[in-house]
């Protein structure tokens, strides 16, 4: 049921407060509501932080409880948490949200045009396949597989194009 636990070394993402958006490692538990937390590689000083503003990630570091900052930093860099985090979908979603918020009016227009074009292509292919399948009658497999494979490359193309244009 629960997969991520509060433990020493758990890397957490701070969701609100002055350090919102940064990663920290749990160094020790103070009481039911607070933990001693440290983020040497993300610019968070060692401090107490309530659990409520932390969101647990999948990463766990190995260091003993109340280890000093140097140890936390070593463990962090050994595991290469910063890069691993950037590769997660979570971080990518956050980044995409930020980019969307920063879009200017011109960017929005370009995205709209790109989306429109993409949807047209997809629809076109769908219609083609539907026609084929309706003509041939007994080939449901092909019509199901083909659109999925076509959606894949196109969905990668369009977001890349969007971000490049932004």
């Amino acid at each position: 049921v629960f997969k991520r636990f509060v433990e020493i070394g758990r890397v957490a993402f701070i969701s609100f407060g002055p350090h919102a958006g940064k990663l920290v490692a749990i160094v020790d538990v103070i009481d039911q509501n607070r933990a001693l937390v440290d983020g040497p590689c993300s610019g968070v000083r060692r401090q107490a932080m309530p659990f409520k503003c932390m969101q647990l990630t999948d990463f766990v570091l190995k260091f003993p409880h109340s280890a000093r900052q140097k140890c936390v930093r070593l463990a962090w860099e050994k595991e290469n948490i910063n890069e691993k985090w950037a590769a997660t979908r979570w971080a990518k979603k956050i980044e995409a949200r930020e980019k969307k918020a920063k879009m200017t009016d011109f960017d929005r227009y370009k995205v709209m045009k790109a989306k429109k074009m993409r949807n047209r292509i997809i629809k076109h292919e769908m219609k083609k396949l539907q026609k084929m399948s309706s003509k041939k009658g007994k080939k449901p497999d092909k019509s199901e597989k083909a659109p999925k494979s076509e959606k894949g490359p196109k969905s990668e193309k369009v977001p890349k194009a969007q971000k490049a244009q932004k």
Partner: protein, 293 residues
């Protein structure tokens, strides 16, 4: 004696009057070695040493009157040249003027002062300001322009018949209105004025550095013309005024001149033409305060 000590002009032939206070000056003040006396009679002549030997510092041997005699100041009396006095006397302005007065029992004229005494002496030194103090007429108002609006910025018009259209800003006119163009071939917005307040400035800019905007495009050029002379009273007033606006040839030529320069630059930016053709609109989930323009 004090007045005559200071000579005005040098009378020719007389020795140059020495410095005013040779008696008080130190004896070493003597200007020796000026042997140009013969040449320039009007120039400074050799000054005599002080004729008042010093007994102790600040105390001379001879009294004031004795010095007067010794320096022969009785001979050196200068009066100011007459011409200036005469001039000043003539220049005195008229203080009163006699004016004729009507009515037969009033005596023919009155003597009236030209410069009268003030009719009011304020209790405070600073005079009271007029009610219209600091209120300037419209033509003297300070015109401001938002920092986000620079030549070449794409603006979104919010009011008027072209609301929602994206348009290129050219310059600010003398009254503060913005001169703006579609360009016409892109979105049917001609060279037009727009009000700064009713416009959203986007961050998209086109480089308009070399574009020359004709100088005759001023507020007077764009001002609406209205006939103000209804010949028929209560008859056909509404007919005579201009109903239909006709596009003059000058407007067309100006439009062409400006747009041709701008279109070239628009083509350089990908997708900008389509962007200018589109209109701005809000839809579900789109909040203007959250949008970055």
């Amino acid at each position: 004696a004090a007045g005559e000590k200071k000579p005005g002009e040098k009378a020719p032939g007389e020795k140059k009057p020495g410095k005013k206070k040779t008696a008080e000056k130190k004896p070493a003040e003597q200007k020796a070695g000026q042997k140009e006396v013969g040449e320039k009679k009007k120039k400074i002549k050799k000054h005599h040493a002080s004729r008042n030997p010093v007994l102790a510092r600040g105390i001379g041997r001879y009294s004031r009157s004795a010095m007067y005699a010794r320096k022969a100041l009785y001979k050196r009396k200068y009066t100011a040249p007459e011409t200036k006095i005469e001039k000043k006397k003539k220049e005195k302005p008229r203080a009163t003027i006699t004016k004729p007065v009507g009515g037969d029992k009033n005596g023919g004229s009155r003597v009236v002062k030209i410069r009268k005494m003030p009719r009011y002496y304020p209790t405070e030194d600073v005079p009271r300001k007029l009610l219209s103090h600091g209120k300037k007429p419209f033509c003297q108002h300070k015109r401001r322009l938002r920092a986000s609006i620079t030549p070449g910025t794409v603006l979104i018009l919010l009011t008027g018949r072209h609301r929602g259209k994206r348009v290129i800003f050219l310059k600010q006119l003398a009254t503060g209105l913005l001169l703006v163009t579609g360009p016409l071939v892109i979105n049917r917005v001609p060279l037009r004025r727009a009000h700064q307040k009713f416009v959203i400035a986007t961050s998209t800019k086109v480089d308009i550095s070399g574009v020359k905007i004709p100088k005759h495009l001023t507020d007077a050029y764009f001002k609406k013309k209205r006939l103000r002379k209804p010949r028929h009273q209560e008859g056909e007033i509404f007919d005579t005024e201009k109903e239909k606006y006709e596009i003059t040839e000058q407007r067309k030529s100006d439009q062409k001149a400006v747009d041709s320069q701008i279109l070239a630059r628009i083509k350089k930016v990908p997708q900008l033409r389509g962007y200018l053709r589109s209109t701005f609109c809000l839809s579900n989930g789109v909040y203007p305060h959250k949008l970055v323009f």
